[in-house]
């Protein structure tokens, strides 16, 4: 009885969609109530969702298929990042030096820090290659990882963890290091935490959102160019 009930519910085309949105709203309420950085809505809703699936013994694939609409909207949403960029075009042009230097320094730091720490931890080449694209958007990162000999499914996990973490720590980092300019905040979020960071940047403001959107494109392409230059040292 219980099994048939669960499989009937989980078999609904809207089960995953409803579960994700419902848990996200609960997570937003928790965040509003307790205000701890750890209660990041994306993190909390993800954890709650995994708990629900494990407890009810629903396979990930069933959930994924019924939440497909959410992932499906990600490409058109990425396309729409052009809107805040267009609105802030003048600001973008006026700050070209900060944009170029910020994103380039950040991307180089990302690759070098992963290389250095990977070697320090004695990780094998394929694991370092897996982590190298962790700060860029999933669709580009998967290709970079594969090209460098990484484990693509783990790269996807690393990218998502990076995004959630960036989303979570941004405001604290900006406070500690006195990063106050909206342009700098946007560049920092987009370069370190790709589209998930950009979702945070859009919450902070339109300038932050526009700069973060630009960073996704530039950091992504820069990583595609730079990783093959260092991947030879991995093996």
């Amino acid at each position: 009885m219980k099994e048939t009930l669960i499989s009937a519910v989980a078999g609904s085309d809207y089960f995953g969609l409803f579960l994700s949105i419902g848990l996200f709203i609960i997570a937003l309420k928790l965040k509003a109530r307790f205000k701890f950085a750890i209660l990041n809505p994306l993190l909390v809703s993800t954890v709650l969702c995994i708990i629900v699936l494990v407890v009810l013994d629903i396979p990930y694939e069933t959930y994924r298929d019924s939440a497909k609409m959410l992932s499906y909207l990600l490409t058109p949403a990425t396309v729409c990042l052009a809107v805040p960029m267009y609105k802030q075009l003048k600001l973008l042009k006026d700050n070209l030096a900060a944009v170029a230097i910020g994103i380039t320094t950040g991307t180089c730091c990302s690759i070098l820090s992963i290389l250095a720490m990977g070697k320090l931890f004695g990780l094998t080449g394929d694991h370092i290659a897996t982590l190298l694209p962790k700060s860029i958007t999933t669709a580009i990162g998967m290709g970079v990882s594969e090209e460098a000999g990484g484990i693509v499914t783990l790269t996807v996990a690393a990218i998502i963890i990076t995004g959630i973490l960036g989303n979570m720590i941004a405001e604290t980092i900006f406070k500690i290091f006195r990063i106050e300019h909206p342009v700098a905040k946007g560049l920092a979020l987009g370069t370190s935490a790709h589209a998930v960071g950009t979702a945070k940047a859009l919450e902070l403001g339109e300038v932050e959102g526009a700069m973060s959107s630009l960073s996704i494109c530039v950091a992504g392409i820069l990583t595609v160019i730079l990783v093959p230059l260092v991947s030879g040292t991995l093996y």
Partner: protein, 124 residues
């Protein structure tokens, strides 16, 4: 019919992006092609801001939600993630903090310098 028109524009750019992603041998995702083309469309005036603004705003406002299915997907790789979880987490956390801080500080320094210059120029 405002939304119909907006959705049509956004889907058109999404579709062209997807097509370019399939046709061109570059590792650039469909969304990034679509983003660059929509930006070019807005700059050249082919698309007007009000043709995409409301629906675009809706999609950006709900974007965080769209990452949940991929994030929940981590549960399907736990068997290979657990053995490397500790070094992975240490590297991801430190590297993300480093990248965010360095990018933010580098950009702040340049912004401060150019703002000083503008201020001086305005004073002169």
């Amino acid at each position: 019919m405002k939304y119909v028109k907006e959705v049509a524009w956004i889907m058109a750019f999404t579709f062209i992006g997807e097509a370019l992603n399939k046709l061109l041998p570059l590792p650039i995702p469909a969304g990034v092609y679509g983003l660059v083309l929509l930006l070019a469309g807005l700059i050249t005036g082919v698309v007007k801001l009000e043709d995409v603004e409301t629906t675009g705003g809706f999609l950006l406002d709900t974007m965080t939600l769209m990452f949940i299915p991929a994030a929940v997907g981590i549960m399907s790789v736990t068997d290979i993630l657990i053995p490397v979880l500790v070094p992975y987490l240490v590297i991801i956390i430190s590297s993300t903090v480093i990248v965010m801080t360095v990018t933010g500080i580098a950009a702040s320094l340049i912004l401060r310098r150019s703002e000083k210059k503008e201020y001086k120029e305005a004073a002169e």
